[in-house]
C-alpha cells in the first residue's frame, strides 16, 4: 500500500497540477488533495538542479504588482516565474497611482489592458485580490492582503516542514506572536488544520483575534504551555505598522513573555524546529543565537522553498486556466 502510494506520488510530481480555480486567493476553502499535489510538485522543483531547464512557460507574462513594501516575496515570485521561462515585470505602486487618486479598479483594469497572464498582488487591504479576481480576466495570486491571507507563505512553510519532518498529519505546530495582524498565521492555520496537523496559537491576549478557536486551533496566552511538546515553533513578526500602540507595553516585555529563547524552547519536543516568515526582529521575537542555529532553525530553508512552491503554483494556474 505504502509502495503504491509512493509510485502514484512520483507520477503526480512529473506533471503540472490542475486546480479547481485559475486564481490563488486564499488557503481557506482549498481541498486537501490540491494542497498535497502543489506540495508534491514543489518538492519536485526543489529537488531539481539549478541548471535543469524548466522553461515551460515561454511567452507567459507575469505582472508583480506590489502596493506594499516587500523584498523577499517579490524577488521569490520573480525568480520562480523566470525559472519557468515567463516574462516578469515588477510594478511598485506604493507611491504612484494611489497618490494620484486613481481608484484601485482603474489601476487594475489599466494593467489588465496590457493583457498579462498573471497578476501577483500584494495589497495592504484584506480582500483586495478578490476584487481583482472579480473584475479582471487574468489569473490572480494573492501575495499577501492586509490581515487576511498569504497563501504562498503557508504552502512554502508546509513544504519546509514536510521536507524536514516528512509529514504534516498529526504534527503538533505552535504559531506564536502577533496573530491578530498576521495574514501568515491565518493561511497557516487553514492549511495545517486542513492537512490534519494539531495547531496551537500563542499570543498575548491583545494580539489574539476574537473567536480564533472557531478556526480549529487551541489558543494559549502562556508560551511555555503553548509550545509544550510541540514539533514546530513558528514565530511571527510583531507588525507594529498595524497597531495602535495599545497592544504591547514594550519590546523587552514582549521578549520576556513571548520571545523564543533556550528556556522556552526546552518545553518543546527535543527535536522541535523553529520557523519565522521574516523579516525577523532579533531579540524581540527570537533570541539571535536560536535564529542562527542551523540544527533547529529552518528560516533559510523557508526562503529557499519559496521559489519552488511559487513555481508549482504559477505553473498550476496556467495549466488550470488552459483546461477550463
Amino acid at each position: 500500500m505504502n509502495k503504491l502510494f509512493k509510485n502514484n506520488s512520483k507520477v503526480s510530481k512529473s506533471v503540472p497540477v490542475k486546480l479547481s480555480s485559475h486564481h490563488l486567493l486564499a488557503i481557506e476553502g482549498m481541498q486537501k488533495t490540491e494542497i498535497q499535489k502543489l506540495l508534491d510538485r514543489a518538492d519536485h522543483f526543489a529537488n531539481l538542479d539549478k541548471n535543469t531547464d524548466t522553461k515551460y512557460l515561454s511567452g507567459y507574462v507575469v505582472l508583480n504588482v506590489f502596493f506594499e513594501n516587500s523584498t523577499r516575496t517579490r524577488v521569490s515570485f520573480e525568480l520562480a516565474a523566470r525559472r519557468l521561462g515567463a516574462e516578469v515585470i515588477n510594478i511598485s505602486l506604493i507611491n504612484s497611482s494611489i497618490k494620484k487618486g486613481e481608484s484601485l479598479l482603474d489601476t487594475a483594469s489599466t494593467l489588465n489592458a496590457m493583457k498579462p497572464d498573471l497578476l501577483i498582488v500584494r495589497h495592504p487591504h484584506s480582500g483586495a485580490p478578490l476584487l481583482f479576481a472579480e473584475y479582471l480576466s487574468c489569473s490572480i495570486i494573492n501575495a499577501g492582503d492586509g490581515r487576511h491571507e498569504h497563501p504562498t507563505q503557508a504552502l512554502l512553510d508546509a513544504l519546509t516542514i514536510k521536507r524536514r519532518v516528512g509529514y504534516l498529519e498529526g504534527l503538533k505546530i505552535s504559531i506564536c506572536g502577533d496573530i491578530s495582524n498576521s495574514r501568515v498565521a491565518r493561511s497557516n492555520i487553514h492549511l495545517l488544520t486542513t492537512m490534519g496537523a494539531e495547531v496551537r496559537c500563542v499570543a498575548p491576549s491583545t494580539l489574539m483575534p476574537s473567536s480564533l478557536e472557531k478556526l480549529g486551533v487551541k489558543c494559549f496566552n502562556d508560551m511555555n504551555e503553548g509550545i509544550k511538546d510541540t514539533d514546530v515553533v513558528m514565530l511571527l513578526r510583531l507588525q507594529n505598522e498595524r497597531m495602535s500602540g495599545t497592544e504591547n507595553p514594550s519590546e523587552r516585555e514582549y521578549f520576556k513573555f513571548f520571545g523564543l529563547d533556550e528556556t522556552k524552547l526546552s518545553m518543546a519536543s527535543p527535536n522541535a524546529v523553529i520557523m519565522h516568515p521574516g523579516p525577523m526582529n532579533r531579540g524581540v521575537e527570537i533570541a539571535s543565537a536560536l535564529a542562527d542555529d542551523t540544527n533547529r532553525s529552518l528560516i533559510k530553508t523557508q526562503v529557499e522553498m519559496g521559489v519552488a512552491v511559487r513555481m508549482s503554483i504559477i505553473e498550476a494556474l496556467n495549466h488550470s486556466k488552459n483546461k477550463t
Binding site: 487591504h125 484584506s126 492586509g146 487576511h148 483575534p209
Partner: protein, 441 residues
C-alpha cells in the same frame, strides 16, 4: 366635482386600530366617505368619477421615515421623488450633509426648498454641535424655532459627556429630543487617523477574524447608551437612540423604559433581516454603521420589535456612489440605500409571522410620529387624503439594477409586498402601471 373611489380595499388605520375591507371615496383632497356599502349607481352617472377595483389591495397611512441621509449621490428633490415611489410621505433628514444643517437659516432654506405640496414632507434634525465637531453646542433653540425636530451629530456619536449633558439639559427647555448614533468611537477605532489601519470595519467575532478585518465589539454601542441613559436621568431629557443593533442595547433600553425615563429608539431593516455572515465575500454593500451584527443580535432586535422596546423602523438611507463602493472593503465608504426597500423588508416581518400587519404599519407611521410629538396620521372621514395603496402579497425579487439608489444590501432577496400608489395632501404623488390598470371607470 371629481370623486375617486377605492372599491373594496382593505383599510388599515393603526390610530383607530381599524382593519377592514371598505370602500373609500376621496373628494376635494379629503376622505369623504369610508363605508362597507357602496351605491355605485349614483357615481356611474357622473363622468368625472374614477373608480379603482381594489380587491386584494390594502390602504394605510403613508410611511414616516425618521432617518434619511442625503448624500453626495442625491439631491433633496430626487430623494423626495424616490421616497414617494417607496410609499414614504414624510421624512427626517440628517444634518451631516453638505452644507451641514447647523444654523437656523439653513434649516429654513431646506424647509422652503422642499415645500412641494405634491412630494413627501421633509423635516430636519439640526446639528447638535457646531460644525458637528462634538465640542460646542449649536443654536438649537433658534433651529428649533425654524422647525428642526430634534438634534443629533448625524452618523457620529456625541462623545463628550459634558457636551451631552448640556445638550440634553438645554433640549428639555425647547422640548426636543437628542438623537444619538450610539458608538464608543475610541473602542471601535474610529477616532484613529484615517491613515492608520486600526479603524473598525465590521462586527468583531469569528467572521472578522477569518476575513482579517478589524472588529468593532458589539459593546461599543451599549457603552454609549448606558452613559446617555444616566445623563437622561440627570437632565430629564428625551433621548432617542438611532439604529439600535445589539442585544445588550435592546436590554438596556428595555430596562430604562421600565424605569420611566423618556427614552425611545429605532432600528433599520438590515439589523433585523441580515447578520455579519453576509460579509464573507467582502461585499461592500454590507459595510454599514453600525455594522451588521451576529445572528443572536439580529434575533434580539426582532424581540425588541415584538415587545415594543423598539419604537420605530427607519430606513437609515445612506446611498453611496459605485466609485466609493467598488473598493477593497477597508477603503470602501460606509452605508447603503434604504428608502426603496424600507416598506417591503418591514412587511417581510409580517409574512414571516413575526408581527401582524397592523403593528408593521404602526412601526412605519404612528409610532415615529409619537416619538416626535407629531399628530399621528389617521385615515378617517374628513381627514386629508394622505395614504399609500399596496399589494401585501405581490411577489418579486429585489434587483439592484431596478433601484434608483445604491448599493442595496437586499439584492436578490425574494419578497412579497409592493407599493402601488402614494397620495400626499390629497393628490397622487406616485402611481404605478399595475394600479392604473385597476381602473374600472
Amino acid at each position: 366635482m371629481t370623486h375617486t373611489i377605492f372599491k373594496s380595499i382593505k383599510l388599515i388605520n393603526p390610530a383607530t386600530n381599524f382593519n377592514q375591507r371598505v370602500n373609500v371615496i376621496i373628494h376635494n383632497k379629503t376622505i369623504m366617505n369610508i363605508s362597507k356599502d357602496l351605491n355605485l349607481e349614483k357615481f356611474n352617472k357622473d363622468n368625472q368619477t374614477i373608480i379603482y377595483d381594489c380587491e386584494g389591495l390594502t390602504m394605510s397611512p403613508g410611511i414616516f421615515d425618521i432617518r434619511v441621509n442625503i448624500g453626495k449621490t442625491e439631491n433633496l428633490k430626487f430623494t423626495q421623488i424616490t421616497a414617494a415611489e417607496s410609499g414614504i410621505t414624510s421624512m427626517i433628514i440628517l444634518p451631516n450633509q453638505t452644507p451641514k444643517l447647523n444654523n437656523p437659516s439653513i434649516i429654513d432654506h431646506i424647509k422652503r426648498q422642499s415645500e412641494d405640496i405634491n412630494l413627501p414632507k421633509v423635516m430636519v434634525y439640526g446639528a447638535a454641535t457646531k460644525d458637528l465637531n462634538g465640542l460646542e453646542i449649536s443654536e438649537i433653540g433658534l433651529m428649533s424655532e425654524m422647525g428642526a425636530i430634534g438634534f443629533t451629530n448625524g452618523n457620529k456619536s456625541i462623545k463628550n459627556s459634558l457636551v451631552m449633558r448640556r445638550l440634553m439639559s438645554y433640549a428639555t427647555m425647547i422640548n426636543r429630543p437628542i438623537i444619538q448614533h450610539a458608538e464608543d468611537e475610541d473602542l471601535s477605532g474610529l477616532n484613529q487617523a484615517s491613515t492608520t489601519s486600526v479603524r473598525g470595519e465590521m462586527n468583531e467575532g469569528e467572521i472578522s477574524t477569518r476575513l482579517g478585518l478589524i472588529g468593532i465589539p458589539a459593546c461599543a454601542e451599549v457603552i454609549m447608551i448606558e452613559r446617555d441613559i444616566r445623563l437622561a436621568k440627570l437632565t430629564g431629557a428625551h433621548y432617542h437612540v438611532a439604529h439600535v443593533s445589539t442585544r445588550d442595547s435592546v436590554n438596556v433600553i428595555r430596562e430604562a423604559k421600565k424605569s420611566g425615563l423618556n427614552i425611545t429608539c429605532d432600528t433599520a431593516p438590515p439589523y433585523f433581516s441580515l447578520n455579519e455572515s453576509k460579509l464573507l465575500t467582502y461585499n461592500t454593500a454590507f459595510k454599514l454603521s453600525p455594522p451588521l451584527r451576529s445572528e443572536d443580535d439580529r434575533l434580539a432586535i426582532i424581540e425588541g420589535i415584538q415587545d415594543g422596546t423598539i419604537d420605530a423602523i427607519a430606513s437609515d438611507h445612506r446611498a453611496r456612489s459605485k466609485d466609493t463602493k467598488v473598493q477593497p472593503f477597508s477603503a470602501a465608504s460606509v452605508g447603503a440605500s434604504g428608502i426603496e426597500t424600507l416598506f417591503s423588508i418591514t412587511l417581510d416581518l409580517v409574512h414571516k409571522k413575526i408581527i401582524d400587519i397592523n403593528k408593521a404599519i404602526s412601526f412605519l407611521t404612528i409610532n415615529p410620529a409619537k416619538i416626535f410629538g407629531i399628530d399621528s396620521p389617521s385615515l378617517e372621514e374628513e381627514k386629508l387624503a394622505d395614504f399609500i395603496v399596496f399589494d401585501e402579497n405581490e411577489p418579486y425579487t429585489i434587483k439592484k439594477e431596478n433601484l434608483k439608489t445604491s448599493p442595496t444590501p437586499f439584492d436578490g432577496k425574494k419578497i412579497r409586498g409592493k407599493i402601488l400608489a402614494t397620495y400626499i395632501n390629497g393628490q397622487v404623488a406616485f402611481m404605478n402601471q399595475i394600479f392604473k390598470n385597476k381602473i374600472i371607470k
